[in-house]
Amino acid sequence: MTTNIMLGGVGGQGLILMTKIICQAALADDFDVKSNDVVGLSQRGGMVWGNVRIGNRVYSPNIPPGEGDILVAMEPIEGLRWSSVLKEKATIILNSKRFYPTMVQQEKHEYPIAEVENLKEAFKVIEINAFDEALKIGKKQVSNVILLGILSVFIDIKVDTWKKAVANNVPNKTIEMNLRAFDFGVSIGEGYK
């Protein structure tokens, strides 16, 4: 059984660090793991995506079409965009903090509010403004760790393993704050289990 985690976001949000932490946690719990990240031009505020596949034997780092188990959407439009890789009734962890793409900013396109809302009919959507919650915890930079905490509830990796992987990848001074953010995420995720 392979678990396929999809991540979608906006260049600069820190998606690559997310996939790295997930990979390290999976390896530490003795899974085979492969990941993808888009790197390059799209870093500059463009759409970015990554994915992680965890299992006993993983060949391709690419998620086979329609085989996604869970989507971490770091921005609502990106949640909508990547929902097509998911299995029916899969889970979407949706950060409701919006980043407005050029076409919306230049008033050529509406922000697709209704389409994002419709995701809730087809999928199990866990919606949270991770940005605002992160500010409450201490720093906007811990937004992603809140999302990781929610994700952790749905992945067969031990909580301690997750926390070690988080602690290994954040500045020393912020470990305590990041772990609080992670625990907060776990508490949110538990409510949807």
Binding site: T19, R44, N62, P101
Partner: protein
Amino acid sequence: MKEKEKRVLTGNEAISRGFYEAGGIIAASYPGSPTVEVVEKLKEYEEVYSEFSTNEKVALEVAIGGSFYGVRSMAVMKHVGVNIAADPLMTFTQTPINGGFLLISGDDPGLASSQNEQDNRLFAKFANIAVLDPSNSQEAKDYTKLALDISEKFQIPMMLRITSRICHSRSIVSLDERIEAEVKGINRDKDKFCMIPPGSRRAQFFMKERIEKLEEYAYDLEINTLEEIESDTLIITSGMVYQNLKEVNPNASIWKLGLIYPISNKRAKEITAKYNRVIIIEEMMPFIENELKLMGIKCEGKEHFSFTGELDIKDIEAGLHNAGIIKDKRSYSERFVETVPRPPLFCTGCPHRPVFDILKKSKAKTIIGDIGCYSMAFLFPFEQSNIIISMGASIGITKGIKKAMSKKEDNEPLVAVIGDGTFFHSGLPTFVNLLHKKQEGENMTFIVLDNRTTAMTGGQPNASSGLYNDRDDMKVGIKTLLESMGFDRVNEINQYDYKAAAKLFKEEIAYDGLSIIVANGPCALKYNIEEPYYYVDPTICISCRACIKTNCPPLRMIKYEGIEKLKSSIDEDMCVGCSVCAQVCPVNAIKSSKEINREDEKIDN
């Protein structure tokens, strides 16, 4: 035996590790996606000397130097970088190898971050060198080491051909200790290393024999693996395509090539003779397919699979269905839901933003762009580039257009833009060339966008970065350099001083001759610019959208309570305080939060 330490590494990190473990000493690169991280990761190993050189040609030459001294050496570049390095490569390959030599070529099927999709396996064959093609990070590490061994054994430069997907995907790698390779010292045999006739004539035979020996060696090479099942079909593949193929798991035997050039003729004939059908699955050009066809082996390939882009699981399944190997094809949803696109844009606080905002309002109708973050100026809403070809090409092209215009008595002003990284990479000779047959009345304005770093690839230092920070060592001033070349009209401007910049641009574009503007401003990302945020006073804002047109990410039109019309707004969490929006505002509706505090202080006092 102690279990080996395991890590999850990207392909790029694995190559770094492999070079370190193989006893590598000299590594040089020019940053270009997808291979940037290889040399960045090498900084961790103090045994290795690594650098980002001025361009790929210089990087290759530095690595050649290491090899000539007898130490294991590596040059790392993206596929198009090999074009720049081709001159020394095509001749270096005629000499024997002293220290093992490896060229890492990062190909980009699908053009995720490149201007073309060239298949550098052909380059390797052209240069009479052998090619290894890894399919995951463990192989990326192992093949790096194997390549250096083969290089020394057969006296041949090797290419490790990797693709963007291999570079950036992570998988598990077992680590080994470093082995210090033997250092041979310089070989002063001039007949073998001075590549002018007659030595270079003899070298043709040397190269031919070398590849022939390697082709024999490939016969039972362990990294070419055969997975046989009960089937009348054989699929031949390599690299990431193999991993995608395994997900499809068709009823066919698989011959996975690790060494894709040269392929053992004898072995290929022995294996393929057992099958009715032989299908080659490879991205981009039919390289393996053509090699087999040259051997007289009947095979299929590109009639089933696209000549462009990556071959993902879905593409392989579709191709094998087309070939009749897979009977039932699943129906798939599109890769992603069609919704609002999100193209990249200049970062918040980017110094290029005011330049292209000014150019958009200027009289210049033709703008020749170049390679770097500022290539994004061709996108909506700026649309301020008419031509973008390759690194440093803007300057020569502009001269060519202008000379053609002069012959036809057309004196429309031309503007070319080039970044600091590209200026040093390959722009310098093109600027020198502008001094040749320079004519009065030929209106060209060259804008050097000096953001003090090679930004697009993640902020690597370049030749002028040392002027602006203590970490970097080179302090080549672009304006000083251009003036000492002999240009008499070079102006420097702070890009954030919008009004002064707009005035200067207007004057220089109107000037009936050659002028250069060095537009200076730090990359907001690399230099971590973060000043107090700006905000909009909606009671002053006239909804003209001058600020919105600058496309700065925190800006957008919103509805304020009690105000009918939409007014501009700034997301204070994203704003880095560059002030460009405030400077383009015609009614001073945009103000710094810092000034507010100052006013408060005054009141308090």
